[in-house]
Amino acid sequence: MSLIRKSSHVIKSSDITPESVYMNRRSVLRTIGTLSTGLAINAWVNDNVRANEDQLNVSPNAKYSTTESINSYEDITTYNNFYEFGMQKSDPYNYGGEFEPKPWSVKVTGEANNTGVFDLDDLININALEERIYRLRCVEAWSMVIPWVGIPLAKIIKKLQPNLNAKHVAFETVYRPQQMPGQRRPILDWPYIEGLTIQEAMHPLTLIAVGLYGKELLNQNGAPMRLVVPWKYGFKSIKSINKIHFQSKKPLTSWNIAAPKEYGFLANVNPEVDHPRWSQARERRIGSGFFGTKQPTLMFNGYAEDVASLYTGINLRRNF
């Protein structure tokens, strides 16, 4: 059990990355942008994506931290599965530059009292952001440790007041093929869709992230807002969300549509249930280098103590 609840173990992200590297660059670039030659704007857009240095006002949540070493900002921002920008791990970093996460609005529909179109700031109180250091386990058997910045999804849901018919929450990624080159190809059935049960969505571990390492999310990580469900395989944590829908029946999910025998609705991290084409018993921790050995994968990605009770009586082999 590596989920530590002692504040002495909390590593602040500012201890890890020197901030000076990113300082002042944005204002300089903005000035260049106002010169408004096509070239300058283009350079500004590209640089803005690579180093979006907007600092967020964050308080670390001591309850959700870890003694494990955190992955570097570089690892987290250059090695991504975000097929909207392409299938290679480096594609989101290389081809995410055209995407414009601001301004952003989210359409809320379905079984809730407070539906409609919300600005990002209306949904997420920028002054209530917390830092949580979570493990992320990809279905491809690699993992990272990431200092997210966000708020519990439960806080947003309470604001939206779902009614008693709302047994599930469905999410959708924005569909912008002009800005997302991967969406111009039939890699998946676009737009990307995901979903949770209302209990999972309301669980205190479930986070809506708007930043990492104390800074706003970059495009490749799902700017401006994404889901983080640390006890489930990474593909559940849908990125760049612009639609939330409360519904009674179980939502469809993109990977389940693409390969129903390989990717289930629950998709809980489970070392005992292998993916049909590879083992899930062990994982490679990114950043462990050439000769780092694989480590055993933990049930519910090490969050069993917190979430196992959500699944009592459910056959997790059948409901993979």
Binding site: S90, W142, A259, D274, I286, F290
Partner: protein, 194 residues
């Protein structure tokens, strides 16, 4: 003539040289998951050179170009070099050389069984091509050719099967291999003596 063959052979090692430079941090390095990068890179170049080896046969059949005639064996060996690297990186780096773990991993993972079978086919051809086996190699052309075709089909299958979503490259290799196998079958039924 010889100089052209040599240039082609040297060029075929460029991806390997580039990979080594990347391993030492040049040209952007290998990224956050260097083990995966090396395994994927050597694997994909193994497939490319295998498919190229088999493409040379019909190419010679229609062009009768002397350079093309001499290329299949060296290019096949280049493919073997990449595939051997691919397998050794998987076994020694990814699985830390733990034989028990490797055996279980291969048995439990369908695309690894296919890849392993393809590797064994290619390994047999690679060993047979050494000087001491030269006579046997030359006298058993059809066996050798059958093994190379098997290795290529299994290799492409292995590549195709491990992908989460099918890539353009997997589709291209699959189509090429289908055409090459069909062409080969047609040729061998046309001229049973060859």
């Amino acid at each position: 003539m010889k100089i052209i063959v040599r240039i082609i052979l040297l060029a075929s090692f460029l991806p390997y040289i580039l990979l080594n430079f990347k391993a030492f941090g040049f040209f952007g390095g290998l990224g956050a998951n260097p083990v995966e990068a090396i395994i994927h890179d050597t694997g994909i170049w193994g497939i490319r050179f295998l498919v190229l080896t088999l493409t040379l046969t019909p190419l010679y059949h229609y062009s009768k170009h002397e350079v093309v005639r001499t290329l299949p064996k060296p290019i096949g060996l280049v493919a073997f070099f990449y595939v051997l690297n691919h397998f050794l990186c998987y076994a020694i780096i990814d699985q830390a050389g733990d034989l028990g773990v490797i055996v279980v991993d291969i048995i439990e993972t369908p695309y690894l069984i296919v890849g392993w079978a393809g590797f064994l086919c290619l390994f047999a051809v690679g060993v047979a091509s050494f000087n001491s086996f030269q006579e046997w190699f030359n006298n058993n052309r059809s066996t050798i050719s059958g093994l190379v075709y098997s290795a290529a089909v299994l290799g492409v299958w292995h590549f195709y099967w491990q992908e989460k979503v099918v890539s353009y490259e997997a589709i291209v290799h699959s189509i090429l291999m289908t055409v090459l196998v069909l062409w080969r079958l047609r040729i061998s039924t046309d001229k049973p003596s060859s």
